[in-house]
Each structure stands twice: as structure tokens, then as C-alpha cells.
């Protein structure tokens, strides 16, 4: 019974996360528009786009793998969300956090690009392998500083549970890992720029180079699924960062605010930067951010 109740609560959590992700996406579009001197779309435009994509009449498919890609990507986002505590200390918000959830979540991180690579390649379009190759290589690059940052935190706390890592920062904002582990936080937040897929690390889906990369052949319902996946992926990643570095959240409102603030970090960077080529972004992530990550690990170990 308790399990069933938890499933119910978590399902509601997923819906809220999707809605919040779409809303945040709309706010981001509005912000970009404002910086560019435009009015911008209404903040609820993300919902309309989602609905419209579901109402596209014919969807062309390229075999079972083609369906699998968006599903895998969405599953990755849902997976991250389900296995980390969104709200610490409140049972419905704890989701399915368990002792080794951090490892599982790191694994789910790969799902986004992997799903696109697998599914898009089934379309047989030459843009897809180029885009997927870019996405995967860029991901391996930004995973390095992020994993180093996580190792530093884990080495210091001695636990692979996000729940424990969050509880370790419970004594007010001075205990946050953002302040107690500044090097780890710096490495992780730089890696987040790459994860979010905003400029300067958005060459994977860049419309005027390889038009939208791996998603070239997707349309209609697939795009809607991908949009849902993207929304929940973004929010789940922000929740992970909130849990790891900003001391988690004890109420829904706090979670909303912290997620939004973390989201804005990558948006603020994205607004005024052009995009790197994929080799340049790899060189970037394996340079200073990786070094900062190594320093963080060394500080945690000694």
C-alpha cells in the first residue's frame, strides 16, 4: 500500500515536473526575446507547441528503433526524476531514492544523447550520424568535470545516496556544497552548461549547420514526446544539482525557486554567446573545468 501510494505521488510529481519544465522553457524563450529586443512568445507557448505536435496528422516512421529514441530519452528524464528526492524529508517528494541512486542517475544522464543517436540513426538521414556523433562526443567531454565533481562530493560525504548528500548540507545555506566545496561546484556548474544544450554548447541541434542534428527526421508526435522528455530532463537535472549543491528543498515552493535559479545560470550564459564547434567545446571541457574537478577531488581526498 505504501508503495502504491508512492507510485501515485511520484506520477503526480512527474506531471508537475513536465508542466514546470514547459513553463520554464517558455520563460526562457521570453527572456531570450527580451534580451534580443523582442516581445517574445507567450510563456505558455510550450504547451501549445506540445499540443500542436500531438495533433499533426501523419507521422512517418522508420522502424521500431525510430520509436525507441524519443521513448528512451523521455525515460531517461523520468528515471532521473524518480530516483532522486525532489523534496527532502517529505515522503511524497522523496520519490524512489535509495542507497546507490547517484550511480543510477549518472547512468540515466546518458539516455538523452543515446536515445537520440539510436533513434535518429534509424531515419537514415546523413545529418543524423553527424549530429549524434557530435552529441555523444560533447557528452563524454562534459561528463568528465561533472563526474569529478560528484566524486569529490562522494569522497567527502562517504555516501552514494543523493538523499544522504542532501541531508549532509541541512544546516543552513553555509553548509551548502556550493560554499563548502567551491571547486566541485564550479566544475559541476560549468559542466551543466554543456548538459543543458544552450549556447555555447548547442552545436548538436544547431539549426543552421546540420539542421537540428539527430532530430532531423522526427516530426509530429515524436517531437511532442521529445519535447516532453526535454522538459522533464531539464527539470530533473536541475533537481539533481539542487540536491547536490544547494542543499535540496524542503517545500515545493523552495524547489521551484531553486530549480528556476539554477536554470537561469545556463540561460544567462547562453544569451550572449555564440556556439562552439564540437572539437572546441571538447577542448574546453577537458581543459580548465576538468582541472578544477581534479583539484576538487584532491581537496576532498586529502
Amino acid at each position: 500500500m505504501e508503495l502504491l501510494l508512492q507510485i501515485l505521488w511520484s506520477s503526480i510529481g512527474v506531471l508537475i515536473a513536465v508542466a514546470y519544465g514547459l513553463l520554464t522553457g517558455g520563460i526562457v524563450r521570453k527572456l531570450f526575446a527580451r534580451i534580443q529586443g523582442r516581445v517574445g512568445p507567450p510563456v505558455y507557448q510550450g504547451f501549445i507547441d506540445l499540443g500542436k505536435n500531438f495533433f499533426v496528422r501523419d507521422n512517418i516512421s522508420h522502424g521500431p528503433m525510430f520509436y525507441f529514441g524519443p521513448a528512451l530519452r523521455t525515460a531517461g528524464g523520468v528515471g532521473i526524476f524518480l530516483f532522486i528526492p525532489a523534496i527532502v524529508g517529505w515522503a511524497p517528494g522523496e520519490n524512489f531514492s535509495f542507497a546507490g541512486d547517484l550511480l543510477l542517475v549518472m547512468y540515466f544522464m546518458f539516455f538523452g544523447s543515446l536515445g537520440m543517436a539510436l533513434g535518429g540513426s534509424a531515419g537514415g538521414h546523413p545529418h543524423t550520424p553527424i549530429g549524434a556523433g557530435r552529441g555523444l562526443s560533447q557528452m563524454t567531454a562534459f561528463e568528465v568535470p561533472f563526474i569529478l565533481a560528484v566524486i569529490a562530493l562522494v569522497a567527502d560525504t562517504g555516501s552514494f545516496s543523493v538523499h544522504d548528500l542532501t541531508l549532509a548540507q541541512a544546516g543552513g545555506f553555509l553548509e551548502w556544497n556550493l560554499l563548502t566545496h567551491p571547486f566541485a561546484a564550479a566544475a559541476a556548474f560549468i559542466a551543466m552548461l554543456g548538459m543543458n544544450g544552450y549556447a555555447p554548447f548547442n552545436v548538436v541541434g544547431a539549426p543552421n549547420e546540420i539542421p537540428v542534428g539527430p532530430m532531423t527526421e522526427y516530426q509530429g508526435g515524436f517531437i511532442a514526446t521529445l519535447g516532453t522528455g526535454r522538459a522533464i530532463f531539464a527539470i530533473a537535472k536541475m533537481i539533481l544539482f539542487m540536491d547536490l549543491f544547494l542543499g535540496g528543498a524542503t517545500s515545493i515552493l523552495e524547489a521551484f525557486i531553486k530549480v528556476f535559479v539554477i536554470y537561469m545560470w545556463s540561460v544567462a550564459v547562453a544569451a550572449v554567446f555564440p556556439r562552439y564547434r564540437v572539437d572546441q567545446s571538447m577542448r574546453f571541457f577537458l581543459g580548465w573545468p576538468a582541472l578544477i574537478g581534479v583539484v576538487a577531488v584532491l581537496l576532498a581526498l586529502f
Binding site: F32, I35, Q36, G37, R38, P126, H127, I130, A199, P200, N202, V203, A206, P207, N208, E209, I210, P211, A271, V272, F273, P274, R275, Y276, R277, V278, D279, Q280
Partner: protein
């Protein structure tokens, strides 16, 4: 017997365009890739072919004006000037002093609008969404001035044989000055996110290189040649209209890469603003704006041929005009700057280029497809 390329099976063929957000207009580039690197590329045009030159052979001299200004859309006035100048030269018409200055003003305004747009395009090509938004608006303010002066927003048809259609409206100079100030105010912001941005510099410096040795082989012109250190500018080398009396400098750079070409444009915007201010200041206050010409319905021009050139924002543009004593031109051939840039030069530049740098390179040259195929 042919020698087989051992790598031929490892190449991916890719069409960039014509339906592609990243090409400069309706053209296509067929590239062969190894990994991310372009081995070779071919420019394909013809998607915008309208047969202008044939249509002009069927129209009387005055009827050609609405046609020629559509040859290059971002900068129509150069085409109008070149047609007017060719026919005036062959028909023996001298334009009054005031018309000379008004034509200079319009040419320079269209150059400015085009340059501003190209800066935005160069930034947008690397994924910087803010700069195109700003520069398109700045261009729109110039188009507003055009609309006030000529009645047309994009296509002006302001010049006629013998001069221009009308004088400046009252208070035009002040409103133009306000527009120029707006552009000047925005330039530091553009500098900050492009020319001073480390990401943008890394993206553009040393990329899309041109070889100075090509200058001896091809008729490269405009920012593309000035980025290689050659101070070649038709306004200076073959002075026309009021340019000899104006004070401006020809900007050069030595990089030969995307950054150098875009930097030249950025400085040329300043020069262009300077020129417009001088023109508005030095322009004679009154006098006729057009010389009388024969009846346009029956005007016949004796046999002759000429080549007139002018500096567009992309480089040297020329009209080869032949008349045969009838009331229509015998032949007009439009030599756009893009013709050399888009085929011979670009196809050499593609070799060894990263596929992600293709679009910034194309924008920086730049190419204007309707000019290549007319």
C-alpha cells in the same frame, strides 16, 4: 585507366541547401565529407534564375528599372545606378550636380543597410541570436529612411536616366542623423558580444582562410580582398559620382579569415556613416535633380558598348551594356561580386573546412545568389 581514390568510399555526400536554414539564400552546396571535414564542394545555383538579361532585351530603357533593382535584393540601388550610368554614358546624358550627390547618398545608404545586415548574419551564423535581431532592426531604420525618400522599402527605383526622381524631403537630414546615431549607439554592444567575445574569436579566427595568391588569378573584390591586405576599392580606384570629393578611408586587414572580413565590415559601417554625414552636409541645397532626357517611349541610343562598375557591399559590381541603335538594349550582362566569390573562390575555400564552419564562411564572403544567376 583512371586512378581510383582509395578514400572515396569513406566520404559522405551532403547537400547543404537549397532548403537549409544556413545557406545565404536559395542556393545549394554539394559537399563531400570525411568525418567533419569537407573534402570538396560544388556550388549549385539556378534556383533564382529569372532571365533578367533576356527580359531587359525586351523592354525599353526606362522599363528596365523595376527589373534591375531585383537583381540583388539586400542592395538594389547599386544595380539601379549601374544601369542608369551605362545608358547615360552610351546615350550621352550628363546628370546635374544635385543628382550626383543624391545618388551617392542612396548608394551609401544601401551599402550601410547591407553591411549592417551582413554583420548580423555573420554573428547569427555562429549561433548568436541577439546580434541579428539588433542589426535587422537597425537596417529597418535605414529602410524607413529609404521609404521616406523614395516611397519603397526594399526596392526603391529612385534613380532614373538623367538623375533621380525627387529631392530630399524636408527634414530628411535630421531624421537620417538620428538613424545614424542609433546605429552608432548599438555598435559597442555588437562589439562586446562578437569581436571581443573569446568564443566568437575562437570560432572565426583562422577559419575560412583565403590565399593572397588567388588575387592574381581571380577577380576577388570587396571585403574578401581587403581582408587579405589589398586596399582595393572601386570608390577609390575608379572614382564615380561624388566619391572623389568625400573623405573616407579604405579599411584593410591581413587575417584573410572570417574574423578579418567581419571586422572590415564593422569598420566600414563607421566609414559609411561618415560618408553619409558628409554627403548630407556638402550636398548643394538647390538645383535640378534630373536632366531632361528624350521621350522614353521613342528614345533610341546609337551602337556602343561599355562597362561601368561600382562598389557594392560585397565587392565590385559591373554592368556590361551593349546598344544597337534601337529603343532597347542589345545585351546587358551583370557581373556581380558574388559571381567570383560564390563559385571559384568559395569552392577552393571549402576544401579542408569543418562542416560547422561552412555557414559562417559563406556569410562572411558573402554570396548573394540572385546576383550569380540573375
Amino acid at each position: 585507366m583512371t586512378i581510383e581514390n582509395p578514400h572515396v568510399e569513406k566520404e559522405t555526400q551532403l547537400w547543404v541547401g537549397p532548403q537549409h536554414p544556413g545557406v545565404t539564400g536559395n542556393m545549394a552546396i554539394q559537399v563531400w565529407l570525411t568525418g567533419d571535414t569537407i573534402q570538396r564542394g560544388i556550388t549549385h545555383v539556378g534556383y533564382l534564375h529569372r532571365g533578367f538579361e533576356k527580359l531587359m532585351e525586351r523592354r525599353k530603357f526606362i522599363q528596365s528599372f523595376p527589373i534591375v533593382c531585383r537583381i540583388c535584393v539586400p542592395e538594389p540601388d547599386t544595380n539601379e545606378y549601374l544601369l542608369a550610368a551605362s545608358i547615360e554614358e552610351l546615350g550621352g546624358i550628363t546628370i546635374p550636380e544635385k543628382a550626383v550627390w543624391l545618388r551617392t547618398l542612396v548608394l551609401e545608404m544601401s551599402r550601410l543597410a547591407s553591411l549592417v545586415q551582413q554583420i548580423g548574419g555573420g554573428a547569427g551564423a555562429t549561433g548568436l541570436g541577439a546580434v541579428p535581431n539588433w542589426t535587422y532592426t537597425l537596417r529597418d531604420y535605414i529602410l524607413d529612411s529609404f521609404e521616406e525618400l523614395t516611397g519603397g522599402r526594399v526596392y526603391h527605383m529612385y534613380m532614373v536616366y538623367g538623375g533621380v526622381r525627387r529631392d530630399l524631403p524636408v527634414g530628411f537630414a535630421e531624421r537620417m542623423e538620428a538613424t545614424l546615431r542609433k546605429i552608432e549607439e548599438r555598435l559597442p554592444y555588437i562589439d562586446k558580444v562578437t569581436f571581443q567575445s573569446s568564443v566568437w574569436r575562437e570560432r572565426t579566427q583562422g577559419v575560412g582562410l583565403t590565399d593572397p595568391a588567388w588575387v592574381k588569378e581571380m577577380g576577388i573584390s570587396g571585403p574578401a580582398i581587403r581582408a587579405m591586405g589589398f586596399a582595393r576599392d572601386v570608390r577609390r580606384d575608379f572614382p564615380y559620382l561624388a566619391y572623389p570629393e568625400l573623405d573616407f578611408s579604405v579599411i584593410t586587414s591581413t587575417g584573410g579569415d572570417i574574423y578579418a572580413r567581419m571586422e572590415i565590415r564593422r569598420h566600414e559601417v563607421v566609414e559609411s556613416i561618415k560618408i553619409i554625414r558628409q554627403v548630407l552636409q556638402k550636398m548643394p541645397k538647390d538645383g535640378p535633380v534630373a536632366a531632361p532626357i528624350p521621350n522614353v517611349f521613342t528614345w533610341r541610343i546609337p551602337t556602343g558598348q561599355t562597362y561601368v562598375r561600382a562598389e557594392a557591399s560585397r565587392g565590385e559590381m559591373g554592368y556590361y551594356t551593349v546598344t544597337d541603335g534601337s529603343d532597347k538594349v542589345r545585351r546587358v550582362h551583370v557581373r556581380g561580386a558574388s559571381y567570383v566569390h560564390g563559385f571559384a573562390m568559395a569552392e577552393r575555400m571549402f576544401e579542408g573546412l569543418n562542416i560547422a564552419d561552412l555557414h559562417p564562411t559563406l556569410v562572411s564572403i558573402p554570396t548573394c545568389p540572385p546576383e550569380m544567376e540573375r
